[in-house]
Symmetry: C4
């Protein structure tokens, strides 16, 4: 007799979506080394699986990378499934050591469908100084609608990283937060959007850093930032 | 009955050239990530298709990248065709959100056959400070004939980006302009020449930036710049 | 009659392990250019082969890269086997010119099973100033448990490089030492762990360098460093 | 009747060696983009073909890259053969626009068997300031035996670039010269050695640049530089 898989207690629609999202999340991990956002086994991507049977979201799941596995060895099968408490529900390995921060974010930000964490170089360099990235590029106004904010110093072991992410991003247009002395976390409607935010976060962190090395970038008026953000979020790609 | 393709109203020679240029433009997009000038779906390349039946150029077309498509998914078929008003003539997707700037440039600079836009890191870093790149390298004298100039701050939505490009480049030897707080646009006799200008623009932006980090690069006398530019444009490659 | 292979004097278990480790070490060399830690033929990885017949470790061997061979041409067969005196025991080529430093480390640090040496750019830049890398990132607390220390200036030809490595690392949690004016050496339980340390050493050298270019990174309290290090070494991955 | 190939006037041994060297030089060009020393069609590698019939070297030839050809299209057949006057002897295309500088170097430095020219970023950044790279790394002592010197400002069109190379390198241990406002030229016993020197030149230019961004690298005593250089040139790899 085989032990029952705890996923079997979930509706078929959830089980089907878990299977699909395992592949999505496995594939998206390849974008992290491709854009040079991670080295070795660092970094992780997750995506929420909504459970329509429990509309308040408390029975949602998410799919995330296992801990300490090389990017060359990430397959849909090796991804793990967790509840929103951050407990492992299905998978052969331990979930990423950042799982609690992902879980807290899904629990407290119901519109978030994807979360990404990296130690990408330039974003982490701003985080190490605890300094927000000022909005001095039109592409930054488009994507972030203002500066990329800094979250508090928090260490692993309780929910302080998750709280820092949620509190900082709840008051910001930015889908990225630079956790102090640590690195960026990004959110999105799904994992792909959160990966895009991680890529763009490093891009603006790098470009603004390099610009400031030889002087001060020109500020962009708030009205222009608002107008660019509004157009990009509401017109572009719709 | 199938709706008529508006391209059918154009001469056969134009339709044949559109087919050829779709492939040229699709292939050239691969050079942008290869030279690390773009991330995600940013950046775009276009090329003019001349309509010999209307010698004043007003019935020319151009082929450009569709909006928001990943670099892995760019095929000749996915490229879109626009009129010089920037209106979509043929294609399954919306044209790039920078199409109006390309269109304005083709309308007002009849010798221009290709346009490229990127947010390449070092060029954009100069653009963020609104600072031209001084001509302190012999390869820069060859390719740009002087500094790479800065264009005005302009936001998307009317023809102000296009006007900024045309006004800045009309008074310059440089095939590249750094649009303030935004990034570089480059022009050329065809799309390949504009891509080369985008690659060289980032190359000189990076090298001069790095040189200035530890001191001031030595100026090159204007007579030497003129002589290098003249040789390169008139002798080299002929 | 063929000359006897000196390896034949070793127990079968050692000969089997040598064969396995040749492949491990050859494969791990590919990680060095992949993470841009080396150019041309620079850099080397080695791994200890324990000889259970002589429990004090004095008859252990190690497998290392041959001297001056291109990364494209490294095969298990081309790896060479040395004694802990740094003498060639088996192999068609001379061992790496850094062999004496590897040998000294294995001789004097019995728990070390792998050694890596590179001239990775940012780590070497700190080494050239003779300046330790301060521990200002949570990932650095995890992996290094404090600053990455600097070892003495030492030149090739006697055991001064090996002594510098051993003396510096014996008093440190860090698996990496920046040998002054030279570059990083890293150690680990096996060659893979030492390669990981080399990758992480360059990662933190780069990120802290870039952070400091625009100001001073915030310090992390010693108690937090201790707590992060303890969790990472004792919980994570177990 | 086909026009006689001017190569037919040369001994069979020279014609055989030309065929071999065409492949060597074509293959070595791939190392330039691989190590990110060049973009687009910039950069060139050449190798001397000695003519044993004329021992004073005046009838030697060299094989070099054609002008303006993409790195993807370089084949042994597309390489061109020149006399030491820099005149095209055999080939379907024009020789590189830097051919005169290569020719002058072969004419005046009989021991030189290979020449490489790039605009690699960090080396060119030092060249733009007209500043030599100080010898502050043990790998630099090994390979260059001292600083990498700066050559005079010189523009294309006469033999002033070639003279600058020869005059600067004749008084130096370094196989690399930074031509002011232009970029590095390197020499070697053959093209492979000159490519290695180009790779190492950029490596030390980058590492010393980065080190100096946050302070002053420690000097290395002249006696240590001499000892490292002597060992590396006379022992290593022999």
């Amino acid at each position: 007799m085989t032990a029952a898989n705890p996923l079997d207690a979930y509706p078929q629609s959830v089980r089907d979506e878990v299977a699909r999202v395992r592949r999505v999340v496995a594939d998206l991990h390849a974008e992290l080394p491709r854009y040079e956002l991670v080295v070795w086994t660092a970094g992780n991507v997750s995506q929420r699986v909504r459970n329509a049977d429990v509309p308040d979201g408390s029975a949602d799941l998410f799919v995330i990378k296992p801990s300490g596995v090389s990017y060359d060895d990430l397959t849909p099968e090796s991804m793990v499934v967790c509840t929103l408490d951050g407990e492992l529900l299905d998978g052969d390995r331990s979930p990423s050591s950042d799982t609690a921060a992902h879980a807290y974010t899904y629990q407290h930000m119901p519109h978030v469908g994807g979360v990404v964490h990296t130690h990408s170089t330039y974003a982490t360099a701003w985080a190490a100084r605890g300094e927000e990235i000022p909005c001095v590029l039109t592409m930054m106004a488009d994507e972030f609608g203002g500066p990329v904010p800094v979250g508090p110093f928090a260490i692993i072991g309780d929910d302080s990283i998750g709280r820092g992410i949620v509190e900082t991003l709840s008051g910001s247009r930015s889908p990225a937060v630079l956790m102090k002395s640590h690195g960026p976390f990004t959110i999105g409607a799904d994992a792909r959007a959160a990966v895009k935010a991680a890529v763009m976060c490093e891009e603006v962190a790098r470009t603004v850093h390099i610009s400031r090395q030889l002087g001060e970038p020109a500020p962009i008026e708030q009205a222009h930032i608002d107008s660019l953000y509004d157009r990009y979020q509401n017109v572009y790609g719709k």
